[in-house]
């Protein structure tokens, strides 16, 4: 059914993505492809995989932006982006077949690959560019929030998180329930001023982005006069101190 759930799902699963710590390594994207090509969405096909004009299905794509021009405040921000499992997404309601749906139990947005006719209209309706057409199979695919992993009782409990979250070496991706105010994702969002992408579209994304912390590079040297104990310490110790005093 492409009608959205009548009542707000009790659980609202999503990601909090930390733009401050993401190092742009693409591990999340790679592990996503690895898990999902063998999971319920698989295979995530590639075309011309070993030649020019290669193209393939990826649920997660990592952009890199330069912010603030070239001056002292310039910074590089790595920006991973996958489906935000929006609360009122038109990608679901435009679907003519009922293949696209939003789960009422946890808010995950999925495609039923056996119903989809590959009309691509849902991809036209997503402002985030989160839908991925599989031209070999002829159906639309998308991030499932690893629905076949997060509820998988064959896996040890600590592994029941989306593949991207499991892979991230810099803990830039947090998974949890935004309906629970005590979840890590809710707390991080509250503490760090987590925000919605393109709120003007009215899709109400569930997943949030945590902004880069401002101005660290232009801050005064850490070991300022009057701060005891670091005179004569080597660069390594100063670095350790800086990390610890964050």
């Amino acid at each position: 059914m492409t009608s959205l759930p009548a009542i707000r799902p009790e659980k609202r699963l999503g990601l909090a993505i930390d733009l401050d710590t993401c190092v742009g390594c693409h591990a999340c994207a790679t592990n996503c492809k690895e898990w999902n090509t063998g999971g319920i969405s698989g295979p995530l096909t590639d075309v011309n995989a070993y030649e020019a004009e290669q193209q393939g299905v990826w649920f997660n794509r990592v952009f890199t932006y330069e912010v603030g021009g070239e001056g002292p405040n310039a910074r590089t921000v790595h920006f991973p982006k996958n489906c935000l499992h929006c609360e009122t997404p038109a990608c679901v309601t435009v679907c003519p077949t009922g293949a696209s749906y939003k789960r009422s139990e946890d808010g995950i947005v999925l495609v039923d690959h056996d119903r989809c006719i590959g009309c691509k209209l849902c991809s036209w309706a997503c402002p985030y560019g989160a839908r991925e057409y599989d031209e070999v199979v002829g159906v639309m695919k998308k991030c499932t929030l690893c629905v076949d992993k997060i509820y998988n009782e064959n896996l040890p409990e600590e592994d029941r998180v989306p593949a991207c979250v499991a892979a991230c070496p810099s803990k830039a991706r947090h998974f949890g329930d935004f309906a629970d105010p005590n979840s890590t994702v809710s707390k991080l969002t509250a503490e760090r001023g987590g925000y919605d992408l393109m709120p003007e579209k009215g899709y109400r994304p569930t997943s949030k982005y945590l902004p880069p912390r401002p101005g660290r590079r232009s801050a005064a040297p850490v070991s300022a006069a009057g701060e005891p104990g670091l005179e004569g310490a080597g660069r390594f110790l100063k670095w350790v101190d800086r990390i610890l005093s964050r």
């Binding site: 890199t64 932006y65 006719i117 209209l121 992408l197 880069p212």
Partner: protein, 312 residues
């Protein structure tokens, strides 16, 4: 947006077919066309062929056309589904209307009502087609009231130009057809001009700074694309037509779609029968070129918001 030929053909052909069906039904029911079998066969036959051909070609761009019937299920929320349901529903009264006209020589009474029903459903179908595009808030060049207006006006206009040609061929032409054609062309021209003015003046709602939420730290610029080669989104939504070409093609649309058909129809009013028929044929030819150009531009000039992420 990528201008797929199957979708261009589908929207123009079915729009013209519905326009012709609407006008042929109104004229026949109103007694302005004789209830002769061959005329009915050509008019309703041409209309249904254009509609059917268009619908068939629309399935060519599907990844899984064999499941197309699934698309009839979600009419509660989806304009694409509504369009499918209405398109099929139109065939029933249109078919009965055709039977009455072609085989029984009747365009009044029950068959007249079938003609009216077919015309109404045809209007709703064209409106639904246009709403598939106009309802997408992700594409500023489509999310406009002038989009459904243009689809309806251009459909009626194409139908009127076709009707004028066929009635001249059959020697059953009356000025009422030309009056409708002239009015439809003028309305279409006005709506399309308003549309082009609107999209030229429309400022984007979002940019890279607002989309990423990083604009508060300064100007945002793409440094690295997520992939070295273009992906599905960039092929499907990243189509860009040079401004210079768009201008030229718009001029071609102004001439082919509006100016020439208008000239031919008006001149036909004062020309002897044979010349007028040739002119009506010329109007159809100009219309075909103009309509395909206009529809190509409708896609090529549309810019999808998801390309903002790619810095374009």
């Amino acid at each position: 947006m990528h201008p797929a030929y199957s979708v261009i053909f589908f929207t123009t052909a079915s729009g013209a077919g519905y326009g012709l069906l609407i006008l042929a039904a109104i004229f026949a029911v109103g007694g302005l066309l004789p209830a002769t079998g061959l005329l009915g066969l050509v008019l309703v036959g041409l209309a249904l062929a254009l509609i059917g051909g268009g619908l068939l070609s629309s399935t060519f761009h599907l990844g899984r056309p064999e499941r197309a019937v699934n698309a009839l299920s979600q009419w509660r929320t989806s304009w694409l589904s509504r369009e499918g349901v209405l398109a099929i529903a139109t065939f029933l009264p249109a078919g009965l209307f055709a039977v009455g006209w072609v085989f029984l020589g009747k365009t009044t009474g029950f068959f007249g009502w079938m003609g009216v029903a077919a015309a109404l459903l045809a209007v709703l179908t064209v409106f639904s087609t246009s709403m598939i595009y106009a309802s997408l808030t992700t594409i500023p060049q489509w999310n406009l009231a002038t989009v459904p207006m243009a689809y309806l006006a251009l459909g009626l206009m194409s139908g009127a130009v076709l009707l004028a040609f066929v009635t001249r061929l059959f020697g059953v032409h009356g000025t009422a057809v030309d009056v409708v054609a002239i009015a439809a062309i003028l309305i279409g021209w006005g709506v399309k001009t308003a549309y082009w003015t609107a999209i030229d003046g429309r400022l984007p709602e979002s940019d890279l700074g607002s989309a990423t939420g990083l604009g508060r730290f300064g100007a945002v610029r793409i440094l690295e694309q997520p992939h070295t080669e273009a992906n599905f989104l960039m092929h499907e939504m990243g189509y860009r037509v040079a401004r210079k070409h768009a201008r030229r093609l718009r001029s071609l649309a102004h001439v082919g779609l509006f100016a020439l058909p208008l000239l031919f129809v008006v001149a036909g009013l004062f020309a002897p029968e044979v010349t007028a028929t040739a002119m009506a044929a010329g109007a159809v030819l100009a219309l075909v070129v103009g309509l395909l150009t206009e529809r190509w531009l409708f896609f090529a000039e549309a810019r999808h918001d998801c390309m903002i992420w790619y810095g374009r």
